[in-house]
């Protein structure tokens, strides 16, 4: 075991911020390459004539998931040291619905709005300002919804752990699902292309 490097003390907190910057450059670069600085390109996903959001997102998930799986099987990466966001079932369903609504109304999500600003989109800038406003509003709202905010907490868990399935089987299922999805995405795009 030698990774995650940071967790094994290869470099300190300050150096980790420089790493953050370099990783961010890669993140922003590929988001822009994929066309995710454009709100019209992003929301086309929801009008079914361009499913690039689905394709990019699931290719990235499958790539990183396979990498993590193999590296941990080879004994290079200690998966238990990788941070997992705790699961809160109902808040994450509601939060997802609200963010999805914000996505199709605003045209971006938080990460893609940063890229869109870098390419000169004014609506991306307004979206980012909206993020700041929404954060302030939520800070005001939180004391009143504290019960809802922390309900149905089941801690940090993964699909294989929660459903008691072999890790490799879930990975295989996700890969199959993604491949099926990519095939279906092509069919859907052709069906809806005329209406674009």
């Amino acid at each position: 075991m030698m990774a995650p490097f940071f967790k094994f003390g290869l470099f300190g907190d300050e150096a980790s911020l420089v790493v953050a910057f370099v990783i961010g450059i890669g993140f922003g670069f590929f988001l822009e390459r994929a066309g995710f600085a454009s709100a019209r390109k992003l929301v086309s996903q929801f009008y079914l004539n361009d499913l690039a959001v689905f394709k990019v997102m699931f290719t990235a998930i499958v790539t990183a998931m396979l990498g993590v799986t193999y590296l941990s099987w080879m004994g290079v990466l200690d998966l238990s040291q990788v941070y997992l966001v705790p699961t809160f079932v109902v808040p994450q369903i509601v939060g997802g619905l609200v963010l999805g609504a914000g996505f199709v109304i605003g045209g971006y999500c938080p990460g893609t709005s940063a890229v869109s600003i870098a390419t000169g989109k004014l609506d991306g800038l307004l979206f980012a300002l909206g993020l700041l406003g929404g954060t302030l509003a939520f800070a005001e709202l939180l004391p009143h919804i504290q019960g809802f905010f922390s309900m149905t907490s089941i801690g940090t868990t993964t699909i294989p752990v929660y459903f008691n399935l072999p890790y490799g089987l879930v990975v295989f299922a996700v890969v199959l699902m993604a491949l099926g999805g990519f095939y279906g995405a092509g069919l859907i795009e052709r069906a809806f292309a005329k209406r674009a």
Partner: protein
């Protein structure tokens, strides 16, 4: 900590560990930028480019004058005894960088003003001033003299902003003669970026973008030499270098100065001058901002560093 309290917690030894706020880095940045502006103006005059209609030299000295006034104001705000400012001009102390600076700044005003006269806008070319401006523009020897004075004074101003820090021996982080060169190069690259941004003539813009690439490259080399110098020196200097190599100024130095201010602009501008990407006004802004952040990191980290 115990040692600090026992031996140094005494207003007579360390009256103020952190005496300089935002004024000094802003002033050092503006000083460097003006120095670079003067050197570019001087170069343009010596090359005879001021005769070209589209020359940015018609506004550059005026910009320098405006920035100089802002910088002097920042410097004045930093003074403890503001009403004693005139006393700087009653003496000249050869061994004091402050005295050098005070006099250089006083000479910079007329030098910039005369450089501006060469390409004075037509609506101001009236009366006595207009005749003087015409006479200057017609005389090759006057142009030659103005060019050299601006080149020399600009260089002195740029170097002085670094020497001001490096002469303060009590701060190991500043204890390097390379600071003068580093700040001069940083000022030159910020000035070249500024001209690159505002020049409306394509040849001029490309020329300054190319020059800026050279300045940025030299600045990167100087920065690395500066760090090497500290690391191969005594324990106090190594501890000072550690402030940007894992210490509390690491992230802002490598991200704000090296990444956003030097390396990324260098890559993008190199591609732009070879016509593989478009010129963008954002890149020069990044260079200028990086130059400002450099002064902040150096002034703050320097005040943080101390003899062990």
């Amino acid at each position: 900590m115990t040692e600090l309290v026992l031996t140094r917690h005494n207003a007579m030894i360390d009256p103020l560990l952190h005496a300089w706020g935002w004024e000094i880095p802003v002033y050092l940045f503006l000083g460097g930028l003006i120095g670079g502006t003067m050197m570019i103006t001087g170069y343009i005059l010596l090359k005879g480019r001021h005769r070209e209609n589209s020359c940015v030299c018609s506004v550059l000295p005026l910009v320098g004058l405006a920035l100089l006034s802002v910088g002097m104001l920042a410097l004045f705000l930093d003074l403890e005894h503001k009403l004693y400012v005139w006393r700087l001009y009653t003496t000249f102390q050869f061994s004091s960088p402050m005295s050098w600076g005070a006099w250089i700044l006083l000479l910079v005003y007329p030098a910039l003003a005369v450089a501006w006269l060469v390409r004075l806008p037509a609506f101001l070319r009236v009366g006595q001033v207009g005749r003087l401006a015409d006479a200057l523009a017609e005389s090759p020897r006057a142009i030659w003299a103005i060019g050299y004075v601006n080149l020399a004074l600009g260089g002195m101003l740029g170097i002085y902003t670094g020497v001001l820090l490096s002469s303060l021996g009590s701060r190991p982080f500043w204890n390097s003669a390379l600071l003068g060169v580093l700040f001069l190069l940083s000022g030159l690259s910020a000035a070249a970026a500024f001209v690159h941004m505002i020049a409306w003539d394509r040849t001029e813009r490309e020329l300054l973008a190319r020059a800026d690439n050279i300045f940025i490259s030299l600045e990167l080399v100087t920065l690395m030499l500066f760090l090497t110098g500290l690391l191969t020196s005594g324990a106090s200097h190594q501890a000072a270098a550690a402030l940007v190599l894992g210490g509390p100024f690491t992230a802002v130095f490598w991200v704000g100065v090296v990444g956003l201010g030097l390396v990324i602009p260098l890559v993008l501008q190199s591609l732009a001058v070879t016509h593989r990407t478009l010129h963008s006004a954002i890149v020069p802004v990044m260079v200028i901002a990086g130059s400002l952040v450099l002064r902040f990191v150096f002034v703050y980290a320097g005040q943080y560093s101390h003899w062990l």
